[in-house]
């Protein structure tokens, strides 16, 4: 091997002697020097910023009540410290639409109150002294407390007064700084930064800085190496040496990569050190990217080398590389942009049969109904915005009343929360659904909600999000009307006219038109809503999910659980019909439809994971410290069982940094799955009964109880369907009579389940007989066919250097899935499986093929 090592060493010297290399290294050094002063700045701060106002409407309401002498004494104690004129303005804003109190103003006024030494009184805050963190501050007394102590105490007292309205403060404020100067407070947590922002920024730098710019400079710089080597002046001398021609070519080829290796290594090691030192992000993935990026270069260089051998001209090599890149880019672009819409978003997340209709909710959050006329999924109701990411609560079917309850919220593309123009629940009346026209939600409204993942019938999970700006519907009572400071972000035109605005005379005519409204073509069936809906009562703020419990519909929210009073709804509906012959629930019901049914003072923290039991008779709630079982009896919840986790030292840290948890309970067992930890088993009394080892890479998407058994079926993001036998505490794999990968499961009885399969088919499977009873596989759309028959096969066969981005993301994040809704905080949130090995293998095969051609050419050519 000595001669070939000699060639590699010589290539190294060739690279070192290249002025472009030094110019690039200087450029990288300048770039690193510019990046180096960036960093997180964690300041000790108890002041509020706009983003800390979780629920502005609630806060305004509480201030108003406290000013009137109502409400809790703690709130009153805080409000007395606020500027009287400001409080009056707040009160006026509730009556006068023209007066607006912004979240920033609220934060500013509360910050002024933070400096007051007189907020604390034992009468107003009777439990404060029992809290470890507060006790020493209270005992100090106002004289001994310095300004910072005062702010800390008051901020924690404010949190007690406004637990849902204000975001928790941990004495730290995260901001981006440059050379020690802070210039932007970050409105998100370190977790979000770590999970989404950091890999995104790093990937951007690595991909565009190195993967594109550095690689193309390298292609231009290295393009003459092969043509120069194989031109007569030097070639005959090389060929006269006792070495193999093929190995000579390969040595020269890989020697050419040394230029790139030096560049990339220099920059990535620098970036690794900066990310580690400045952002505490010691990400070895950056270093693992070195061989990956060199590999990206090798793909292009193999083309350059081969063309160089044949044409012996460096310019032709560069042009050929550019053409190759352009072809790969076009194909990759088409595939990457079509794939989510063909393969990812249409995947079924929830499936159930409602009366004779098979319904499903997709990854995109679209509520759909199977249209058997055209064998396609048809939108069940008009959606918030076709094609946009949504979070759908329900659908829940009330068999007695033949009504479906559902609600879709838009997903914030940057994570953190969801929003909609109205928080009114959508009610589809199957008795009378043809009587109203399909409509969308009222415009000019926006609500942020806790995001969640739910079952069709019962299960709920995930963390509460944050309300960024609450505005009631214009159809709501005037007293509840507030303003939103984020109005500018939201206005959207109503696609259809609301019935409230439609002339009443038109409705009869519309009824007769209902049948004619049935889709007449496959295209129409794919886009036309199947059902009409009406707006029902508003879902309370910061809701995790809607669930059905013993025939009741319950909204599970941070501030407690709310039961939808169906009888009242029936009465109002009947009265409304009798009076006007119309369905106008919204105007009459409003928030009054949901009645709080949890004990006073019961609230959930942001990182709680509530879940309805398989029997629908209780809700189990997991938070960092404990597990609570709230049984539902006679329309009320009572805490019947609790389990405390071993106490950890009290830490002031952001709870959203905790790993995500999903919990499931039936009449015998409770299973808790936490990211990166073993599965924990509890009995119905919440006593631990065991732990089951769980491979961190098996990311759980869904867990469902198999009825009348202690088997918990587990759907993984990778498409596997497993079960956990709680009695034997063993994990097994279902014998599924389907070749496809599973996306969801919904048991109808002990042995039969609806199974969602990739990309968007649904099957009713009898597991006892290994038999598929019913199948619903939609026809491919034109785009689907183009994707399946042209883009995908070409993409599979041809090399795909750009697809190595996914491998790069895997190296940077360590996860083989990518959340479509980053920062969602939900285990079940839509994730796209990263294609790591297929592009590496196909690119390797391509490089091997091109090198083989080059070697054959070199071996056979008479120079």
């Amino acid at each position: 091997m000595k001669p070939y090592i000699g060639i590699l060493i010589d290539s190294f010297w060739e690279a070192i002697n290249n002025r472009v290399l030094w110019a690039l290294l200087i450029c990288w050094s300048i770039l690193l020097a510019i990046l180096a002063p960036f960093g997180y700045i964690t300041e000790r701060s108890f002041t509020l910023i706009t983003a800390d106002i979780n629920n502005r409407a609630g806060l305004v309401e509480k201030i108003d009540q406290a000013a009137k002498g109502n409400g809790s004494k703690s709130v009153q104690a805080v409000v007395t410290q606020l500027d009287a004129a400001f409080v009056k303005r707040v009160q006026k804003s509730l009556k006068d639409d023209d007066i607006r109190v912004r979240s920033s103003e609220l934060a500013e006024e509360l910050n002024k109150a933070l400096k007051s030494p007189d907020i604390y009184t034992e009468e107003a805050f009777p439990t404060a002294k029992k809290r470890k963190k507060l006790q020493p501050l209270i005992e100090m007394g106002p004289e001994e407390r310095d300004e910072e102590d005062n702010e800390e105490l008051n901020r924690k007292l404010m949190q007690l007064a406004f637990p849902l309205e204000l975001a928790e403060n941990f004495g730290e404020r995260l901001s981006i700084g440059y050379a020690g100067f802070s210039f932007a407070s970050l409105p998100f947590t370190r977790r979000t930064a770590r999970e989404f922002l950091e890999p995104t920024i790093l990937q951007f730098i690595v991909k565009f800085g190195l993967g594109v710019i550095a690689v193309f400079i390298a292609i231009i710089v290295t393009s003459p190496i092969i043509p120069d080597t194989f031109k007569s002046g030097s070639l005959h001398l090389l060929l006269s040496k006792p070495i193999s021609r093929v190995l000579l070519y390969l040595s020269k080829f890989f020697g050419g990569t040394i230029f790139v290796l030096v560049n990339i290594t220099y920059f990535l090691v620098g970036l690794f050190l900066i990310a580690g030192i400045r952002f505490e992000m010691w990400n070895p993935g950056l270093l693992y990217c070195i061989p990956l990026l060199v590999f990206v270069f090798v793909i292009f260089y193999s083309i350059s080398g081969h063309i160089g051998l044949i044409w012996g001209n460096a310019i032709v090599c560069v042009v050929a590389c550019m053409l190759f890149w352009f072809c790969c880019f076009c194909l990759g672009f088409a595939r990457n942009n079509m794939r989510p819409f063909i393969e990812i978003f249409p995947q079924i997340n929830k499936v159930a049969k409602i009366e004779d209709d098979v319904t499903a909710v997709t990854n995109l959050g679209e509520f759909q109904v199977w249209n058997s006329d055209f064998s396609v999924w048809q939108p069940a109701i008009a959606s918030n915005g076709p094609g946009s990411q949504q979070r759908t609560f329900g659908p829940i079917y009330d068999e007695k009343r033949k009504k479906i309850f559902t609600k879709s919220f838009m997903q914030n593309p940057f994570g953190g929360g969801v929003f909609a123009r109205s928080r009114a629940v959508n009610v589809i009346d199957l008795n009378n659904e043809e009587g109203s026209e399909p409509k969308s939600e009222p415009a000019n409204e926006k609500e942020d909600e806790a995001e969640s993942d739910s079952d069709v019938n019962t299960d709920v999970e995930t963390d509460a999000g944050k309300e960024e700006g609450v505005e009631p519907s214009p159809n709501q009572e005037k007293s509840e009307t507030t303003t939103s400071e984020q109005e500018s972000e939201e206005p959207e035109e109503k696609p259809n006219e609301s019935p409230a605005e439609a002339p009443e005379d038109d409705l009869e005519e519309e009824e007769s038109l209902a049948d004619q409204d049935r889709p007449t073509s496959i295209f129409e069936a794919q886009f036309k809503p199947h059902w009409n809906y009406d707006e029902g009562p508003e879902i309370p703020a910061q809701c995790f999910n809607l669930a059905e419990m013993n025939g009741d519909i319950v909204a599970i929210c941070r501030s407690g659980f709310y039961r939808l009073d169906m009888e009242k709804l029936d009465t109002i509906e009947a009265g409304e019909k009798a009076l006007f012959g119309l369905l106008k629930l919204t105007n009459l019901v409003g928030n009054a439809g949901f009645e709080k049914v949890t004990p006073d003072g019961f609230i959930l923290s942001e990182n709680s994971s509530p879940s309805v039991t398989a029997e629908g008779d209780a809700i189990v709630v997991h938070s960092k410290e404990k597990l609570d079982l709230l049984e539902y009896r006679e329309g009320k919840f009572t805490i019947t069982k609790s389990h405390s986790f071993p106490a950890e030292e009290e830490k002031d840290e952001d709870p959203t940094e905790d790993p995500q948890t999903v919990i499931r309970m039936n009449k015998n067992f409770c299973v808790m799955a936490t990211e990166g930890q073993p599965l924990e088993l509890f009995d119905r009394d919440l006593k631990p009964v065991g732990q089951i080892e769980w491979d961190e890479k098996r990311e759980i998407k869904q867990m469902r109880w198999q009825p009348d058994s202690n088997r918990l079926s587990i759907v993984l993001h990778s498409g596997e369907l497993l079960f956990l036998d709680c009695d034997s505490q063993e994990i097994g794999e279902y014998d599924l009579p389907l070749a496809e990968l599973v996306t969801c499961i919904n048991w109808t009885d002990t042995n039969t389940a609806w199974v969602g399969c990739r990309p968007d088919s649904v099957h009713l499977v009898d597991f006892s007989q290994d038999n598929v009873l019913e199948s619903y596989t939609p026809e491919s759309s034109i785009f689907g066919m183009i994707y399946d028959w042209a883009i995908k096969p070409l993409y599979t066969v041809l090399p795909k250097p750009a697809a190595l981005d996914e491998a790069m993301l895997y190296l940077l994040t360590g996860k083989d899935t990518q959340s479509v809704t980053p920062g969602s905080g939900s285990i079940g949130a839509t994730k796209m499986e990263l294609s790591i090995w297929p592009p590496i293998l196909s690119n390797l095969a391509f490089v091997a093929f091109i090198l083989m051609l080059s070697c054959i050419h070199v071996a056979r050519k008479e120079f």
């Binding site: 000699g6 010589d10 002697n17 001398l237 006269s240 040496k241 006792p242 120079f863």
Partner: protein
């Protein structure tokens, strides 16, 4: 069993090479048409031939750069082009280019490694060879700054680095000034004295004549003759090896008669009014006869010299006679 040390340095039998050109029409071109050639160990052998004669093709076959289409070729007992054979030869190509990043030291390091020479030996031999080729003290300069002669000398150093038994040199003095040529000649002589076999391909016939023990003449892929210059002279001039050259003056008629009645060739010399006449004359008797004849025609002899035939004359004669036969 054949002792490899007894085998000739180069042994070529009925060597043929046919090139095919064009993707569709595939025109054929015979570069070598059955060459038989033996180069003995320890001799300096010159290969002569006009452009397109097949000299480079022959060297390329010997080095394994192109494949033969027929016949046999062996180098030092091994098949020509094989890795074993290439290990034993040093090659100095025509128009040698070194990569721009090379210094003399780095170039010798690379080519030494390519010839499986240990690094320690490369260091040791580099100093010695750079001294031999006159590049001592300039070994750390970039080769791109070298003159052509220096590059050729460096090329010779790399060819000698692994102490080869056979040295193949392709136009080693091409583009060199007279001093450079002289140095290369001295080096070749030194190598012969060291016992190396040198296979030299050159256009400069005087040089070949000066340093080569034996010579082969190649034309249109055929070997016209092999031997010492003297042997070749007798082959192409039927035993005649001497000539007489005179500068004469006389009437035009007398000059015409001289040309017609003897085998004199005459060329008028500019401005002097003299003619240069020459004819073959192997002994004194023939010289006297020629002088008598000239004087008999009233021609005055201003200058007379006796010479032997040059290799150039032999070469030109060989080519001319081959071409006339070929036509």
């Amino acid at each position: 069993m054949v002792d490899m040390n007894d085998s000739p340095a180069i042994d070529v039998k009925n060597l043929q090479k046919e090139y095919r050109e064009g993707l569709i029409s595939r025109t054929r071109f015979h570069a070598l048409r059955g060459i038989d050639l033996t180069v003995r160990r320890g001799e300096v052998f010159g290969l002569l031939g006009p452009n397109g004669a097949g000299k480079t093709t022959l060297i390329k076959i010997l080095l394994g750069i192109v494949r033969k289409t027929g016949g046999q070729a062996q180098l030092l007992g091994d098949s020509a082009g094989s890795r074993r054979a290439r290990k034993k030869i040093g090659y100095l190509p025509e128009n040698l280019n070194f990569p721009a990043h090379h210094t003399a030291t780095r170039a010798l390091q690379l080519y030494g490694r390519l010839s499986y020479v240990p690094d320690a030996k490369i260091r040791e031999k580099s100093t010695e060879l750079l001294d031999l080729v006159g590049l001592s003290g300039r070994e750390r300069e970039y080769v791109r700054k070298y003159s052509k002669g220096m590059r050729q000398r460096l090329g010779l150093a790399q060819a000698l680095l692994h102490d080869p038994e056979l040295l193949i040199m392709d136009e080693p003095t091409d583009g060199l000034d007279p001093v450079g040529r002289s140095e290369i000649r001295q080096l070749i002589t030194y190598l012969r004295d060291e016992g190396k076999t040198v296979f030299l391909n050159s256009h400069i016939l005087q040089e070949v004549e000066l340093v080569c023990d034996r010579v082969a003449i190649l034309a249109k892929g055929k070997l016209l003759g092999v031997g010492t210059p003297k042997e070749l002279t007798s082959q192409f001039f039927a035993g005649q090896s001497g000539r007489v050259r005179m500068e004469v003056s006389g009437s035009v008629e007398a000059m015409q008669k001289l040309q017609e009645q003897s085998n004199f060739q005459s060329i008028p010399l500019p401005e002097s009014g003299l003619y240069q006449v020459s004819s073959s004359a192997d002994d004194q008797q023939e010289v006297d006869k020629l002088i008598d004849h000239a004087r008999g025609l009233g021609i005055s002899i201003h200058k007379l010299e006796r010479t032997s035939l040059t290799l150039e004359e032999v070469f030109l004669s060989a080519i001319q006679s081959y071409e006339s036969q070929d036509n």
